[in-house]
């Protein structure tokens, strides 16, 4: 059997620039490369010499789809370095802002990027011709998430209101209560989204994933928690680099993460859900039950349903936070006036999974070294494993069908290639 190559030069309906190449020899998958050709932007290099206060705004520019995740990981890492704690209403407001990003980002993926695959359309605009109610629901839901970010953050892409220690300005109770009707409506739309997603047709596939996510004591994880996996891993964020390492492949401008001494792993909705479903709110849990989701979902195609369940959760969590909100006395916790050289790490749950930030600061508050590991760089190796299994199962398909299958398998994990390229490690190979 001659050599056969499946190649996609430019992946569509993913954020950023990626390509795919699978080489098959003698009916065996010889090589799988999820190529990231998006050019590097060197964030970790030019963060050096910047003030610790600038990191949230600068790192937000790594990704226009999940800027809040970058702002949250940067703030928490700086606060850990400086020994600051942010509690009470400020902590709740951060969670509320994150709810907005989860709703926006998940609705974008479910309706505009992923659903067209299941229903056989190239995009949501063409999908809307035959299924206008579904696309309109998706756009309305997405808008609800964006609106929450606008009110709390000033704007939905690269919000301006986040700072180390809290916010520049905190909302009044009345401003948040005004969001209630819209979020009530969004909650209903999210529940309809779970029904819509669970009614799609899924290929029957199960993968053996090592799921990795945060887990915290009392809540579904966003800004806090320990790193856990379904294979017994349990470490605090400060020890992330003892458990995981990054390797650079020749075919990619992104570094790939693996478990030290192990292989690929998966972060994101499937992992969070498998490790934290007992922490979901009542509405999300009953939506999951109604959709017939088991406690662990190993079928990557069903991630669209899990994402929808997380949108239900983000809506009900936002409502819960708004109902209990009492404005804090001050919009932010004051950072220490002087400090010694220090370092700090933090992980938060971006919509696509864990986002790790680590910084070393000089005693005058300037960043000396930075390390950022984005969710997609953690998932890249695992996506390649999914592709390998998929192609092995589907060797009898013609090239065009197989190519289509591969693109769908990649979109299951909502990769954000812009992020993955910019996870710029300062792990120097010193010679």
């Amino acid at each position: 059997m001659p050599e056969r190559t499946i190649a996609v030069d430019y992946l569509a309906r993913v954020e950023g620039e990626g390509a795919l190449r699978v080489r098959i020899r003698n009916r065996r998958v010889d090589q799988v490369e999820l190529k990231i050709f998006e050019p590097p932007r060197f964030f970790e290099a030019f963060l050096r010499g910047r003030s610790y206060l600038e990191a949230p705004d600068i790192t937000a520019r790594i990704c226009g789809i999940c800027p809040v995740a970058y702002q949250m990981s940067a703030c928490h890492a700086m606060e850990r370095a400086l020994g600051m704690t942010v509690e009470g209403p400020l902590r709740d407001l951060r969670r509320l802002l994150y709810c907005g990003e989860w709703i926006e980002s998940h609705a974008l993926h479910i309706y505009l990027l992923h659903a067209p695959d299941f229903l056989g359309y190239p995009d949501a605009v063409r999908l809307a011709k035959d299924h206008p109610e579904a696309v309109k629901r998706g756009l309305e839901l997405k808008k609800a998430g964006n609106h929450l970010m606008q009110v709390l953050g000033g704007r939905e892409i690269h919000p301006v209101n986040v700072r180390v220690g809290g916010f520049y300005r905190t909302p009044s109770r009345a401003e948040l209560l005004a969001l209630r009707p819209g979020l009530e409506r969004a909650l209903t739309l999210a529940e309809e989204t779970v029904r819509f997603a669970s009614g799609l047709t899924f290929p029957e596939v199960e993968e053996e994933y090592e799921f990795v996510s945060l887990r915290s004591e009392h809540e579904y994880p966003m800004n806090e928690g320990e790193v856990v996996s379904n294979r017994g891993l349990r470490v605090p964020a400060s020890r992330y680099e003892e458990a995981f390492e990054e390797v650079q492949a020749a075919h990619s401008n992104a570094l790939q993460s693996i478990r030290r001494g192990g292989g690929s792993y998966l972060v994101g909705p499937l992992a969070r859900y498998a490790l934290n479903h007992d922490r979901l709110g009542p509405r999300a849990r009953s939506a999951a039950n109604e959709a017939g989701l088991s406690e662990t979902v190993r079928n990557p195609y069903r991630s669209i349903v899990v994402r929808a369940v997380e949108v239900v959760f983000a809506c009900e969590e936002a409502l819960r936070i708004i109902d209990g909100y009492q404005p804090p006395e001050r919009p932010y916790v004051e950072p220490p006036v002087s400090f010694h050289a220090t370092a700090g790490a933090a992980i938060t749950e971006a919509p696509r999974g864990m986002l790790y930030h680590w910084y070393r600061l000089s005693s005058d508050g300037l960043i000396e070294e930075a390390k950022i590991v984005a969710p997609t760089s953690q998932n890249q190796k695992r996506i390649e494993d999914d592709l390998r299994h998929l192609v092995e199962r589907s060797l009898d398909q013609d090239d065009s069908t197989l190519t289509d299958f591969c693109e769908r398998a990649i979109r299951n994990h909502d990769p954000c290639i812009s992020c993955a390229t910019h996870f710029l490690s300062l792990d120097l190979e010193r010679t």
């Binding site: 050019p39 600068i58 690269h158 520049y168």
Partner: protein
């Protein structure tokens, strides 16, 4: 006789965060209406169907950072009747233009263990350095309202109404209390182009210049005022050297401060 057809829209990506092209999809209320009036012919982030060029309207996001980009932007220009750059990366080189003030080889070594795999240019440059540009939308990110105005004006065959006055004017109209006067907070509002909605002052922080320099910025006066407010020179240099660092007026400002030395 030609059959009337909808104009064709293409959205292109160069080095960027994808936020500005996301703004197209963020036009939630108007997205389907726009798609009824204009054919979304080439928009990889949103569709796997690509209609061949030429295109009537091209929106270009991102800056030029590779040899391949230099070639590709010329192709894009050749097949676009109207080319509009969207966002600070495309209009000024973006935050990645900070490399223009540094040694890129050292940057690459700092970030990647195997720098020989990475191919990149020493500079990040705006699209207009390489091809002619018909219009630009400023901002990091662009404003959805300005994007909608641009597309509506295009469809209506008129010039878009995109003011190049300073953030201060918009800030006054919004009724914000001036953060400089009331709180002594350094603010780039006087030299920054409007369009964002003066959101930073509305959220009680100073403008950080994400829409780049306004039409006729008085940089020397701005620098004197930041000095008067007690902003240390390294901080002044950094605030101009962020998302629009390579825009000529902001670049001149950061270089002027650099010459003065630290304080």
């Amino acid at each position: 006789m030609s059959i009337p057809r909808r104009p064709r829209l293409a959205v292109w990506k160069f080095a960027s965060c994808d936020g500005c092209q996301l703004s197209v999809l963020d036009l939630e209320d108007d997205l389907l209406a726009i798609a009824g009036r204009i054919e979304i012919a080439n928009f990889r982030e949103a569709s796997s169907a690509v209609v061949e060029g030429p295109y009537d309207l091209s929106l270009v996001e991102g800056s030029v950072t590779t040899v391949e980009d230099v070639r590709r932007i010329k192709e894009v220009r050749a097949e676009s009747r109207v080319l509009v750059t969207i966002g600070a990366c495309a209009t000024a080189g973006g935050v990645q233009a900070l490399r223009n003030f540094a040694d890129v080889e050292e940057f690459t070594r700092a970030v990647y263990a195997h720098p020989e795999y990475i191919r990149t240019l020493a500079t990040s440059t705006p699209i207009a350095d390489h091809v002619s540009v018909d219009f630009e939308l400023r901002g990091c990110p662009i404003s959805k309202a300005q994007l909608l105005e641009l597309v509506s004006a295009y469809l209506g065959g008129r010039v878009p109404n995109l003011p190049n006055e300073s953030v201060c004017l918009e800030c006054k109209r919004r009724g914000n209390v001036c953060v400089v006067v009331a709180r002594g907070t350094p603010c780039l509002g006087p030299v920054t182009q409007t369009g964002c909605g003066a959101i930073c002052p509305a959220y009680q922080r100073g403008c950080y210049g994400c829409f780049g320099p306004q039409g006729s910025p008085n940089i020397p006066s701005m620098l004197r005022h930041l000095d008067y407010l007690g902003m240390p020179h390294p901080e002044v240099q950094r605030v101009f050297r962020t998302f629009n660092a390579f825009a000529p007026a902001f670049r001149a400002a950061s270089e002027a401060v650099g010459e003065k030395g630290g304080k």
